[in-house]
Amino acid sequence: MKKILTLLLSAGLVATATQALSSPKEDLEKFQTYYEQRFPGIQLDDFGNGPYALDASKRLQWESMEEFPPYEDYIDKGREIWETPFRNGKSFASCFGKDPSKVRVKYPHWDKASSQVVTLEGDINKCLKDNGEKPFGWKKGKIAHLGAFLGYEARGQKINVVIPDDPKALEAYEEGKHFYYAKRGQLNLACADCHIQYPGHRVRGQLLSTGLGQTTHFPVFRAKWSKAAANGDGMGTLHRRYGGCNKQVRARPFKAQSRQYRNLEFFHTYMSNGLAINAPGYRE
């Protein structure tokens, strides 16, 4: 009797645990519906404009800035990087295909062979190494310039991350999801605390963006980064931003392209499926 009871109990526990995991598709629907209901009238794509979708005066300032966007030079630098041949005569086209507008939309994706999430930055540096070139730094500079060019070329295409029905891919997705919702650092803040619970609210003078649409505009030109850089280059990758966020909540940041950040990118970008790519973006 006791045995049966234990068996029943543990079966019950297992059932509960399984039920607690919603499928990525269910998560996506809930995530997007939440924002649509919270901010009625905002078009899905507009969520990709972050705080500028939520506040009329900030939007005006941003729109006037977009007339001569500070990221433009870096798109050109990126184009040059794309077109410049490696020492072996090949170029990035040998890794990514000839059409630069078809690259960005493929990332991030699950790579079955290596059982991991592959990012655009990861493949950029893989391409360099495979061709005997020195890889770029992970967070800023050339990698962000090339990303800006590839993002610009892909503008308007819909984010379409696929989470395959593969236990390892689902595990990576779950880890990314957990990262987004888990409190961390001395300030005990989760990404979700600010960007799900309080988007549209202000921390000091800054307006918090929605979690929906956060990845569509990366790499980004940030005025804050530009001010801090001797050459004014404000471009940075998504993982540079992740690291900055983690530092701000006084948590130890993970390395750019670490498993943790790649899995976060996997979940985070998937949540914006259906939104238009609008990279590179500008943010304060």
Partner: protein, 119 residues
């Protein structure tokens, strides 16, 4: 007073003691100023990131404005507990646990509590 004390007995004594405690717990002007400084300091309490406080510039609006604190927290100890660890009452609270995570020292939590209580 003696008569009254006799009639009410221990209750009044306790009451008198309480009043005495509250009076002695009154923060000095210097303490309030010190508490305000910690509350406004971005690397310390940084209360303005989320709360409006009179005299503070560029306040955020995530938390409620810090006004009429004595009517909201008749029990000062509860206010201190909220500052020390808001997640004790609401695990999802966005408010950093200033005491529990040692963002502030116990003394600093005391000073900030005195200041916020005075608002």
């Amino acid at each position: 007073m003696t008569k009254l004390t006799k009639r009410l007995g221990p209750t009044a004594t306790a009451l008198a003691l309480c009043i005495g405690l509250v009076l002695s717990a009154q923060a000095s002007a210097a303490d309030l100023e010190a508490g305000k400084k910690i509350a406004f300091d971005r690397s310390k309490g940084n209360c303005l990131t989320c709360h409006h406080i009179e005299g503070g510039t560029l306040p955020g609006n995530i938390g409620p404005p810090l006004v009429a604190m004595k009517s909201r927290f008749p029990d000062k100890a509860k206010l201190r507990a909220q500052i020390w660890d808001a997640t004790a009452i609401n695990p999802h609270s966005i408010m950093p646990p200033l005491g529990r995570h040692r963002i502030l020292s116990e003394k600093e939590v005391d000073l900030v509590t005195d200041y916020i209580y005075s608002l």
